[in-house]
Amino acid sequence: MAFTFAAFCYMLSLVLCAALIFFAIWHIIAFDELRTDFKSPIDQCNPVHARERLRNIERICFLLRKVRGATPGGERKGLREMKQQLVLPEYSIHSLFCIMFLCAQEWLTLGLNVPLLFYHFWRYFHCPADSSELAYDPPVVMNADTLSYCQKEAWCKLAFYLLSFFYYLYCMIYTLVSS
């Protein structure tokens, strides 16, 4: 029974994994909110609703932004938005895992995480909109296939994080006990 670096990695990742699960759930909720809309055309035709709806979509898209960029009026609420952006923290937390596991020489765990890491890299550098800093493009995100893709992505990530949570738990105990 020894408190090795690997055990520390697992403990830390256990905590951070909870955060990742939160992010994934948040994504799911956000996309669900995007998808569901009132079917009432009265509301639809209401310009106030139109604006709210648009803001909502934009807000969600901005929340899912990769980096803080200049938006119209972005200077004003820049600080708030910086706190709110969720994509980059998720990606960075996940890459932190990978680095830690690399250092701890936990090859199996690293191997499990590498595909997602690469996916994140791809997602980050291959944005849907040309030159957009958004990971999700407001005019496009409402297209049903884009939306369903995003939803599926979020669900898959949630499942992955949940599984890895228990896996980290197991590994943590295992390393603590075995060594």
Binding site: I42, C45, L54, E58, P72, D130, A144
Partner: protein, 1259 residues
């Protein structure tokens, strides 16, 4: 209605064709002599239209239904949109006015009746122009109530001449079948009726229905219409709850008219102008030419009224205003607008009128016996949208003869009868096997090969498919209304074969499956235009179905499962043109718009009535109750026939939405022009053209009395123009802080068009010269757009941006990204996407504020359209691009701009629109194409909608459709018309479901497929790369043909076989590959390419097809053979030539119709007679290089040529510019690049392409 104003009454009655007279039982009255009192001619008939009280029968003149003269003697095929061609041109001669809908069983009984939503009495009066007056002098009093609601309008139309115009339309055709109705048909001038939500000066909710507990008038039974109504609405007879208002209103309505010719009864005048008003407003919306003429003709009068009304504080003494800031150049001293004579009485008048209307509404809605309370309860249960208060349940509908079919010349039914009696002659010399009585025996494939296409081979697969269907193809649902939902197969085949002549390509089913060996068929292109295939539905449904011009599906036979669709390898999607200019459109005013409770589908012809009181939604299959109001059919005046209602008889209808559909007052029409005035722009000289066009069309801008207009110009600074009424001249306010744009004054930058007209005219006159000496070369487009956004956000509306160069200052500045050396690169084409997000974000903001931005790019250099276009793309605007525009150096572009502007300024417009597309459960939409913002998975947010906007939707099949035989699609477009009405236009398309692959192939609509593929390819080339998109296009051909080859046909793979329905597919794809948008290897400027892509995304199918595959005609030997007659002109119909240089002979002259441009190619050896007679030059050598007009010569061939070109031009949104190209002139490359079947250095010829495809298939 479209007749020139002032057409005499005699003409009206004279116009009634004999057929009509025979059809209508009241023929004598209908075809009366040109009596001096023409109104009376219809009086008797009208009196017979008795309606149970409470239902106002509105005779609704729905849109210009009168443009097609389809009298028996004139079975002409008209260009699809010929009526909307020349606005205001007065081309519409008298005879064209009468629609004589062919009398057929399934035609709507007459175009005429419209159930009034509002008070019955006023509507009746308002809608039946002349007829009532004959009935009783007192009838004229009715008008008063109607006119109240339109008080604002009424005043505008004061020219007495108009009345005659309107009344002249009183003869509408009627089907003979509705016998009991025949009497009324005579007089049914279908007028727009008083169904407008009364939105005069500013009160959006002026019209108040409801309150059934008002003093009841009297239970009217079968009284004569007029008498009853008179009682109802005559002020003096009415027991008025607020009597004072009543008293107000009559004198007012009288005073509102500058009645020039005061008719004896006095009040009829009011009626007249009311009608005019209706006509005008409706026509505006339906883009009727003449109505706008009427509008403008009465304009001067309008001004007074407007000014007094909408700004109550108007100070007449305008001159006193100190013009402190006088723009340096605009020195036109403006006289204190004398026209603004405020009449205090007007104000009163407006108020009183509205009030009075309210009263009348109450009164007249009271006797409605049918508005039972149970109805209300049902509605209120969960209906959050519409019809919450449905106490006044009058509904008005103007069932117009279902005449879409008639658009192509000859009416549907007539064609039908003719074609059934005698097999339709095949128009093409094409050896059509269908006509040959060949045994339908499956031939061995080897036999078929030598003969090429010559065998009418029924595919074995097809037969298999047909057999079970023919035995068991039964209507699946309980079809109450007697629709045979899925008729037996053979019968359909017979029908469709007998319908062969109906639309030229609607070949019978086996025909569309006839295998065509593409590599051996030399003349693949038919010589006649390709029409949309007709879905394989029962005859009833076919007739009811939506016009393919508005609504098309790529597969007219929907596959049952996604697996089947995947097997077919064909794209599934819809092509929409929802706001198309329609000649006939039933407008329904009803308080309870009947919709499905769960999916909110509007009731449509394809629902099934389970019994009298319940209907089953055809999209979600929920069983709904039929509202009480709906049970009554005002057309037949019968109760309990909900399936005869106009909503159920027309697949394209327009509802006038009640106030439940709006939570804010409908916005006024607001137009803002943002003009580039930098050195470059002044140099190009577009300002002159724009200002001239605006000046000419200022009165024709769609809108009502609230219309507002504003101007912003920019170079490195932004200039605003204060046009507040009262100023002696426009004030220019300059904002130089472009980093933080602000509005210099809170108001008076957007001013009422009518109040400040003089100032606006001054400004427009001064603008072209104001900046002549400018040295400013920078362009701060981004800040100007931000300013425009700020200016527009309170109301929403339309921003028209004119830009001539790359924006170089402030937010949204762009750098040149084009490398000229890469223009003809075959490899990567970069920069198809935007360089910055600025424009996209701004567009989204605009969209949220219901503002659309239309971009006119007039640039001689690269201007990064890819970035700039975003401003229009996401705000539902439109994009115009004039490369190398210069007003003197490039006259053809200048002419094009002029014509485009005319159309742009005067076309119909809808504001704050949303469009929802619904489809039968099991199908789902996933990607939308067009200019809009997708606000929800099936809802498109359109800040503006214009008649030239097309949309495309991709579909997927989520659940198996095995339990249904029909699927339906419904588009509902909710918009605010320029008159401030909330309207919903609904299109419904019904298609059969098939289970076999052969049937899927049989129903391919190749044009729709190509347009959808083009849209998808644009997306692909932006998101991925151009070469990817090109590969995808080629793969689409390869996949579909190989899928067909492997699963359906048994032919050996050495031959490239396509079903007849798909035979043009490779040709069109090749055309796409050679389109500017997708071509590689040929030098293409980036902006040109991007513009072509924008057009592909936003053009409707008809125009897009011309762009993709131009039509080529030989015009030096036009004959009258097969000519059609349009407006008494003979239009020759030369056969289509394939787009290949082999068809061009040196001895000929050819016309190429590319949609937005026409080329006439004159061969070197062209006969001198043609050059002399048509071009007006003695010989070939003397024809100038740049020639854009054909002279009006008095020779037969010139006349033929010109009438042919005019006919082609008609109905185009963008009037094409004509170029005469000589064989040896340098401009001929322009012409030759459209010959897509030929080989170029960079691309395949058609035959090579086929070989390439074949090679790919065999791989």
């Amino acid at each position: 209605m479209s007749a020139p104003a002032g057409s005499p009454h005699p003409a009206a009655s004279a116009r009634i064709p004999p057929k009509f007279g025979g059809a209508a039982a009241s023929g004598p009255t209908a075809s009366t002599d040109p009596s001096p009192a023409p109104h009376q001619q219809n009086g008797p008939a009208q009196n017979q239209m008795q309606v149970p009280s409470g239902y106002g029968i509105h005779q609704n003149y729905v849109s210009p239904s009168g443009h097609y003269s389809q009298g028996p003697g004139k079975m002409t095929s008209l260009p699809l949109d010929s009526q909307c061609d020349d606005y205001y041109s007065g081309l519409y001669t008298v005879p064209t006015q009468n629609v004589i809908p062919p009398s057929t069983t399934n035609q709507q009984p007459g175009a005429q009746q419209m159930y009034g939503r509002g008070p019955p009495a006023p509507h009746i009066v308002g809608s039946t122009p002349g007829s009532f007056q004959g009935a009783a002098p007192s009838a004229s009093h009715l008008h008063t109530s109607a006119s109240q609601s339109y008080s604002s309008f009424v005043n505008h139309y004061n020219s007495p001449a108009m009345y005659s115009t309107n009344s002249s339309v009183a003869s509408q055709g009627f089907p003979s079948t509705c016998g009991h109705y025949a009497m009324s048909t005579v007089s049914n001038a279908v007028y727009p009726s008083a169904s407008y939500p009364s939105l005069p000066a500013g009160d959006p909710y002026g019209q108040m229905f409801t309150s059934p507990n008002t003093p009841a008038i009297r239970p009217v039974k079968d009284h004569s219409f007029s008498g009853q109504k008179t009682a109802a609405s005559h002020p003096s007879l009415l027991p008025p709850p607020p009597p004072s208002s009543q008293q107000h209103h009559q004198p007012q309505s009288l005073s509102g008219y500058n009645a020039v010719s005061w008719s004896p009864s006095g009040l009829p005048q009011a009626n007249d102008s009311l009608i005019r008003n209706h006509a005008g407003s409706l026509n505006m919306s339906s883009s009727n030419p003449a109505s706008i003429v009427a509008d403008s003709s009465s304009y001067p009068v309008t001004q007074n009224v407007h000014s007094s009304k909408s700004s109550p504080v108007v100070s007449t003494g305008v001159s006193g205003v100190s013009s402190s800031r006088i723009p340096p150049t605009a020195n036109h001293p403006v006289e204190p607008t004398a026209s603004v004579t405020t009449q205090p009485s007007d104000l009163l008048q407006q108020k009183g009128m509205q009030y009075g209307e309210y009263v009348n509404n109450q009164a007249s809605s009271a006797p409605t016996p049918l508005s039972s309370t149970s109805d209300d309860e049902e509605e209120e249960e969960e209906d959050e949208e519409a019809g919450v208060d449905s106490s006044s349940t009058t509904s008005s509908a103007s069932p117009v003869p279902n005449s879409y079919d008639a658009l192509e010349g000859g009416s549907y039914p007539d064609m039908l009868s003719s074609s059934t009696s005698s097999p339709a002659p095949e128009p093409a010399p094409d050896p059509d096997p269908a006509t040959a009585p060949a045994p339908a025996v499956p031939q061995p494939s080897k036999l078929a090969k030598p003969f090429g296409y010559g065998y009418p081979i029924l595919q074995p697969g097809y037969q298999n498919a047909a057999a079970p269907l023919s035995s068991g193809g039964q209507p699946s649902g309980q079809v109450y209304s007697g629709f045979q939902q899925y008729p037996q197969y053979p019968s359909v085949n017979q029908l469709s074969s007998s319908l062969g002549g109906l639309s030229l390509q609607s070949s019978p089913q086996p025909e569309s499956l006839r295998p065509v060996n593409l590599t051996q068929e030399r003349n693949i292109l038919p010589t006649t235009p390709v029409w949309a295939p007709v879905p394989n539905l029962s005859l009833d449904l076919k007739k009811l179905n939506c016009s393919p011009d508005s609504f098309r599906c790529t597969l007219t036979n929907i596959p049952q499962t996604q697996a089947l669709l995947n097997k077919a390898k064909l794209p599934l999607g819809l092509l929409l043109h929802p706001f198309r200019d329609l000649t006939q459109l039933p407008v329904i005013t009803s308080n309870t718009i009947v919709r499905c409770r769960s999916c909110r589908t509007y009731i449509n012809p394809f629902v099934s009535f389970i019994d009298q009181r319940r209907w089953k939604c055809n999209l979600c299959y929920r069983v709904n109750d039929v509202p009480e109001e709906f049970m009554y059919n005002p057309l037949t005046r019968s109760y309990g026939e909900p399936h005869k209602r106009p909503e159920v008889q027309n697949s394209t209808v327009e509802f006038i939405a009640s106030s439940d559909y709006m939570l804010r007052p409908p916005q006024p029409a607001v137009y803002l022009f943002v003009l580039d005035v930098s050195h470059n722009a002044v140099e190009a000289g577009y300002l002159t053209i724009l200002c001239q066009s605006l000046l000419e069309n200022l009165d024709k801008l769609p809108g009502d009395s609230r219309t507002r207009i504003g101007f912003v110009t920019f170079d490195s600074t932004i200039h605003f123009y204060n046009l507040q009424e009262g100023l002696s001249q426009p004030q220019m306010l300059i904002v130089s802080d472009i980093d933080d744009v602000f509005l210099p004054t809170p108001d008076s930058l957007l001013v009422n068009l009518h109040e400040s007209k003089e100032l606006i005219k001054d400004l427009l006159n001064a603008l072209p010269n104001m900046f002549t000496n400018t040295r400013e070369t920078h362009s701060a487009l981004g800040p100007a757009l931000q300013a425009a956004f700020k200016l527009m956000s309170p109301t929403g509306g339309r921003v028209s941006v004119f830009q001539t160069q790359l924006p170089s200052l402030g937010a949204g500045l762009l750098q040149s990204r084009e490398d000229p050396n890469q223009r003809s690169s075959t490899k990567v084409v970069q920069h198809l996407g935007p360089a910055t997000d600025f424009y996209k974000k701004l567009a989204l903001d605009c969209s949220g504020q219901q503002t659309a931005v239309d971009l006119f790019l007039l640039s001689s250099q690269y201007s990064d359209l890819a970035s700039l276009a975003c401003i229009s793309k996401y705000s539902a605007g439109c994009i115009y691009y004039y490369p190398s525009f210069h007003y003197t150096h490039n006259p053809s572009q200048a002419e094009k701009l002029q014509k485009d502007l005319k159309r742009y300024l005067t076309r119909k417009i809808g504001f704050e629109a949303v469009m929802r597309i619904r489809c039968t459960k099991g199908l789902s939409m996933h990607t939308f194409h067009g200019n809009f913002f997708v606000r929800s998975t099936d809802l498109l947010s359109l800040a503006n909608i214009n008649p030239d906007a097309g949309f495309a939707v991709q579909l997927s099949i989520e659940e198996s459709l095995t339990d249904t035989s029909l699927v339906c699609f419904q588009t509902a477009l909710l918009y605010t018309s320029s008159k401030g009405e909330r309207r919903i236009r609904v299109h419904t398309l019904c298609l059969p479901v098939v289970s076999s692959l052969a049937d899927v192939y049989a129903g391919v609509d190749v044009q729709a497929s190509i347009c959808l593929l083009a849209n998808m390819a644009v997306d692909r080339s932006v998101s991925s790369s151009l070469s990817d998109a090109r590969d995808a296009l080629v793969n689409a051909v390869v996949d579909s043909l190989s899928a067909y080859g492997s699963t359906v046909s048994n032919f050996q793979h050495s031959a490239l076989i396509a079903p007849n329905s798909l035979k043009l597919f490779p040709l069109y794809v090749l055309a796409l590959l050679k389109q500017k948008a997708f071509r590689t290897g040929t030098s293409t400027r980036l902006d040109d390419r991007v513009y072509a892509m924008c057009q592909i995304k936003s053009q409707p199918l008809v125009h897009l097809m011309k762009m993709i595959h131009p039509n080529l005609y030989r015009i030096d030997r036009l004959t009258d053979e097969g000519a059609i007659h349009v407006n008494d002109r003979v239009v020759p119909q030369p056969p289509l030539q394939k787009l290949s240089a082999e068809k061009l002979t040196r001895e000929g002259a050819f016309l190429m119709d590319c949609g937005s441009v026409f080329y006439i190619w004159v061969g070197k050896g062209c006969e001198n007679s043609f050059i002399e007679d048509v071009l007006g030059y003695p010989n070939f050598a003397s024809v100038p290089q740049k020639m854009t007009h054909l002279p009006e010569l008095d020779t037969l061939s010139s006349e033929r040529t010109r009438s042919f070109i005019t006919w082609l031009r008609d109905g185009r949104p963008l009037s094409p510019v004509l170029h005469v190209v000589k064989d040896e002139s340098p401009a001929k490359t322009e012409f030759f690049q459209h010959l897509i079947e030929d080989r170029t250095e960079a691309a395949f010829s058609y035959y090579e392409f086929l070989l390439h495809v074949q090679q790919q298939i065999c791989k």
